[in-house]
Amino acid sequence: MCGAVKGGPSLEGVDVANQAVIQGVVTRDGQPVGNAYVRLLDRTGEFTAEVPTSATGQFRFFAGPGEWTLRTLAPKAVSVDNAVTAAKGVVAEVAVAV
């Protein structure tokens, strides 16, 4: 479905071998940020998806192979960009500090 489940959808039942997963955790001073928004921008900088982080600061995307940028917005913080490369069958982990 077309929604944003907090933290990103579960990997349960998903054939990860056919997915290019980007996931990670958002922290501030080492503590998880549960009310942040992480958006996935494509190689041209265009919005592709966005998820709110889970209570434990986690997020997940199912992207395509290639270069992506994560843009993280959190209350009372400037947005933070992180570059990431996704590949099919690989789970790319990104640690975002705001």
């Binding site: 489940v5 592709t48 998806a49």
Partner: protein, 282 residues
């Protein structure tokens, strides 16, 4: 319609929290978001459980809508202010749906749940109690809803706007990247459709861009003001967002939402499909 008649700000909502004739309605795909905290006094509508038929691949009938709003304590003369997650995608969908069934006073909270959260405004877990009403919906306004046959006839004739991300438009992704990429349907877009991702109409905090920016956006995309327009996405919620921009903010006359969208079109036999970043020929 105009920005002033269709949108309200977070400040305006805070000033009207105690007005009984103004009903805040949260609509999220992740229906649990409301339960973790919502704008004080807001009621919840679950876009899937409450608004989808459940048997037919369609939204609920007029009668079911009347039952739903009566049970929720909504009256015909209430002003409904929708907001939600995903930059108001599903809130815009609900707005469009209520417009389809003739509710008169509808608003969208600019920026939706995200802006409210990023502003660190108050959220409440208290579920309001509203006495049941007898809500009466009007006959469906078919001037704002497109079906597949009209969409096929519109190829090369009307403005077709695909509001999905460029990678979905081109066929490189089959769904937004926050859900698993399903393999059940083909990728691509309706030939001659321009790609104006819904996100270009919004700022990072989820609020809508200014009228001038919005006008430039669609003019640059080649939208012909002299033609009718049909917007689509994958399941009709992001295109509700763009329908809202064109019809309710910019005041274009003939704008329809094709809520069947790519999940329907990309499953049809015998229809043309274009791949890649260009609109393609009729």
């Amino acid at each position: 319609m105009s920005r002033e008649s269709a949108l309200v700000t977070a400040d305006w909502v805070e000033e009207h929290l105690d007005d009984p004739k103004i009903v805040l309605v949260e609509v999220d795909e992740d229906a649990s978001a409301y339960d973790t905290g919502h704008i004080p006094g807001a009621i919840k509508i679950d876009w899937k459980k409450d608004l989808q038929d459940g048997v037919r691949h369609d939204f609920v009938s007029k009668e079911k809508l009347e039952e739903l709003l009566s049970a929720k304590g909504v009256s015909n003369d209430d002003t409904l202010v929708f907001y939600g997650g995903n930059n108001n995608w599903f809130a815009a969908y609900a707005y469009w749906y209520l417009k389809y069934y003739g509710h008169e006073n509808l608003r969208l909270l600019d920026g939706g749940r995200k802006k409210w959260e990023l502003d660190a405004r108050e959220l409440s877990k208290d579920v309001p109690e509203r006495a049941a009403t007898t809500y009466t919906a009007k006959e469906a306004d078919t001037s704002i809803r497109a079906y597949r046959d009209e969409v096929i006839e519109a190829i090369g004739v009307k403005n077709l706007i695909d509001v999905r991300s460029p990678d979905e438009f081109a066929g490189r992704l089959l769904a937004p990247a926050h859900v698993p990429q399903e393999a059940a349907q083909i990728g691509g877009h309706i030939p001659t459709a321009g790609n104006v991702p819904w996100s270009k109409a919004a700022n990072d905090d989820g609020t809508f861009r200014s009228d001038d920016e919005l006008k430039t956006l669609y003019a640059d995309a080649g939208l012909d003001d002299g033609k009718d327009t049909i917007a689509y996405c994958r399941i009709g919620e992001r295109s509700s967002h763009t329908w809202f921009v064109l019809k309710e903010i910019l005041g274009h006359d003939n704008v329809k939402n094709y809520d069947g969208s790519w999940s329907e079109y990309g499953s049809l036999r015998g229809v043309p499909v274009a791949l890649g970043d260009e609109p393609g020929a009729a």
